[in-house]
Symmetry: C2
Subunit: 328 residues, 2 copies
């Protein structure tokens, strides 16, 4: 079994590649960040979960990177005409998942159950676990006050300076049923190329997750979300990079692959650097991590399968000792 | 000022006529039934309020009698594909009102406030008051168990026999701010041609409403929702008639204009019979009510204005004594 932790478009694309590469060989479990979930208009919105569900079921709009291809926005247009808050865009078809999820949650179903039901109905072919059934939300501090992460990322388009980041509710949140077991029993755990502070930190911060990662004997590998030496041309990626950089900076870290490797060093033993960032090999190796150099620019399915194959090699490779700096 | 009590398509069409007939002469207030409101998918649905808002703003689909003309149902189609409960159909544009309303209610706004905001934004030109800000729901008993009124009316299409009707929460509900005053100070109060048990009884049952009607010196008139001597050809009207008949029967009453007049006799002093039902004149007059004979088949705007003109005459007519049977 392979277990992947993360959330967002980068992780979703990698997980699609892993599904292709691992098909019929081993089951996949995705543990998905829910700290950027938000309630709007009475509806529970789970951006990272839905990005994954839509990506794995092949209905995601790949140009936008979110929502459903071919969707319309008649409801949002009317909401705007009525003077409502329409900054978080939900397509007309996309709304159905939100109505279904919210209805089930209010009936008393857990997010884990609802997510499993949605994954089955959408035919994603991967076990998808929200990181927790409890409510956690990432709050960024800005000079003009605190913002929910979605307000910062979507409504304010990452413009306000970020002075601090916290995950409200994380201390008391429990990992969703199956999360710790999926980490403990997997042949390989992959930290996806996700926003390190917004998407990975909340999962790592859940009670028991670091312990479960430390207790593993099998490999834990992280794929860099940052490529320094390739200019960013995609609009959505520019926004994502701005948020990654701002949130890393708020934690005192550079927007650099080696800084991400440093953030994860206590829980991983291998780190995938992009081929363009080979110049950081020494920095990452100096953290005591095994370094893999690969093409991580996984905008198209073939590339993500190529990267996935490199990750799968870790399982059959002779076992390296765990990161000595992380032990004890 | 004219105050109208009721809910549903018949009342909405009459109120459009009243607005036309009374334009620039006197302000109108609609006190709308909310006992058939329902929460679905986490959204607050107010069928009677929305039928009025959409009707008065000219966007209602008149063929269906609900929702917005030209709307699409992409969200509902997807909800059905995902195995969700899609029996209560909400159009994609229609959904915007539900998102806005629900969001505002969850922020702490009252239904009165949200309804006023929506009425302003939609440009309805009439003051629209929900009957209460508290939650009331009509529950019908059937041989296979209790149903919310919407489950009975929409999902079950009025097929189950109805053995009893109750308005859950009505005893403790308070009239919305402005309701009692609108009844007390109006030159004319009109009970619309609405379902007597589902739409009018909840308003009359609110604390203080009967007392406010009794204390009036000006006229209170009801327009019959039932026309016995004209066959029902419209699909929607057949369903509405089935529900009216079943709920009247559950209260031991016939589906007949004179029976409705009898139900209202303690709070009205005049009753409008349809021209086709002139044969019931004597029955209604025997209740001590002033009888008006008019064309109440107000499917088109001209006819509703004609009926409205007849109602407006009541204001300037020499005042008749209040129904003697209702006094004391």
């Amino acid at each position: 079994m392979i277990t992947m932790l993360g959330g967002g478009i980068g992780a979703s694309r990698l997980w699609t590649g892993l599904r292709e590469a691992a098909v019929d060989r081993m089951p996949l479990t995705a543990v998905v960040n829910t700290a950027d979930d938000v309630w709007l208009h009475g509806l529970r919105i789970c951006p990272d979960v839905d990005t994954l569900l839509y990506g794995l079921s092949g209905v995601r709009d790949e140009d936008r990177g979110w929502g459903i291809a071919g969707d319309t926005f008649r409801c949002m247009a009317q909401l705007r005409r009525l003077g409502g808050d329409a900054w978080f865009s939900l397509g007309d078809i996309d709304l159905a998942v939100h109505l279904l999820r919210t209805g089930r949650l209010l009936e008393g179903a857990t997010l884990t159950t609802v997510t499993r039901e949605l994954a089955e109905r959408l035919g994603v072919g991967v076990r998808v676990l929200p990181m927790t059934d409890d409510e956690v939300h990432t709050r960024v501090s800005t000079p003009s006050g605190p913002l929910h992460y979605q307000e910062y990322f979507v409504r304010e388009e990452c413009r306000p300076p970020v002075t601090a980041v916290e995950h409200v509710g994380l201390v008391s949140a429990r990992p969703a049923p199956g999360v710790l077991e999926a980490i403990s029993t997997a042949d390989l755990v992959v930290l996806g190329p996700s926003n390190p502070v917004a998407s990975i930190s909340p999962i790592l911060g859940l009670r028991g997750v670091r312990e479960a990662l430390h207790a593993r004997t099998g490999p834990v590998v992280a794929v860099t979300p940052v490529i320094s030496n390739i200019p960013i041309t995609e609009d959505g990626e520019q926004r994502r990079a701005a948020s990654r950089a701002a949130l890393l900076a708020a934690r005192g870290l550079a927007h650099r692959a080696s800084a991400v490797a440093g953030l994860y060093r206590d829980v991983i033993d291998a780190f995938v650097l992009d081929v363009a960032d080979g110049d950081q090999h020494g920095e990452v190796a100096a953290l005591g991590l095994h370094v893999i150099i690969a093409d991580t620019l996984i905008r198209d399915p073939e590339r993500s399968v190529g990267l996935a194959d490199r990750l799968l090699e870790l399982i059959s490779a002779p076992r390296r000792p765990l990161n000595p700096l992380a032990e004890g």
